[in-house]
Symmetry: C2
Subunit: 131 residues, 2 copies
DNA sequence: AATTTACCCATCATTTTGATAGGTTTTTCT
DNA sequence: AGAAAAACCTATCAAAATGATGGGTAAATT
């Protein structure tokens, strides 16, 4: 299941894509429009900045804006960045050590096929598809 | 992510489908073959029995066996039963109350489309596809 | 100097996950 | 009748993830 983190991140991105892409939008505004606690969004938007999806500016007149053009973002990169992974099972996660059962695992091909399906679905959708 | 519960349930089903479908297989044997704690499997197999996927028999000579023919099970029903839901987001879960934002939610169609994709993938696969 | 903003750090309650432990009942076999 | 083997039932647990909240600091603008 996609958690609030990934879902809220997507809503942040959609919100920013709906505003003037040149100006910095304060998080307060996003939080109010989206009806989500600003404090909670701080944690999430941090990932988006560190992941290189957004640019931030401190101080009065500051806020956040998209780093690239809206049509250049895929849903996949947003979800994957904030959820940590798009892998459907633990053993296919990047940080998982090689499973000793892998070579004889009957279910592994299923998880791999599923993982590819999910990956292709989300990376095949652009942020602008939701606008 | 599919948790151990769903994954182990699938392995139980595969294990049983690989044995004589007429005889009752003790959980002890399944646990040993699959290298999973029998105690933990007890919890999981309970769901499979209550969900009507397996038949159990107590006492000496007892154990578990498939209720239907192996080719009559979909991966989807096994995963959905043991994971509780196949819904990709909380608001599409069966037990979720109607979201007040639903009518204007920009992301809902995405989650619905994703949910259908996942559903069709797993319900389109039979247990015997993994044998 | 005041204001507005991002940013940083800690803490928290609740739920989920992944189990373990021990006892009771049911059934069959000798 | 009794031993053995199995399911079944209840409770508990530690660790991690989830979904936040609170308070304070640094940066930039007016």
């Amino acid at each position: 299941m996609i958690s609030t983190k990934g879902r809220y991140a997507l809503r942040i991105m959609i919100d920013l894509a709906s505003q003037d892409p040149e100006s910095f939008i304060p998080l307060k505004d996003i939080a109010e429009r989206q009806c989500i606690s600003k404090k909670y969004l701080e944690i999430i938007i941090k990932d988006l900045v560190e992941g290189g999806l957004l640019i931030s500016l401190s101080g009065k007149g500051g806020g956040y804006k998209l780093k690239r053009k809206p049509e250049e973002y895929t849903i996949g990169e947003i979800i994957e960045l904030t959820e940590g992974s798009l892998a459907p099972v633990a053993c296919l996660s990047e940080k998982a050590e090689e499973c000793p059962r892998a070579s004889g695992c009957v279910t592994l091909p299923l998880w791999k096929e599923y993982g590819e399906l999910v990956h292709n679905f989300f990376y095949g959708k652009k942020l602008t598809d939701l606008l």
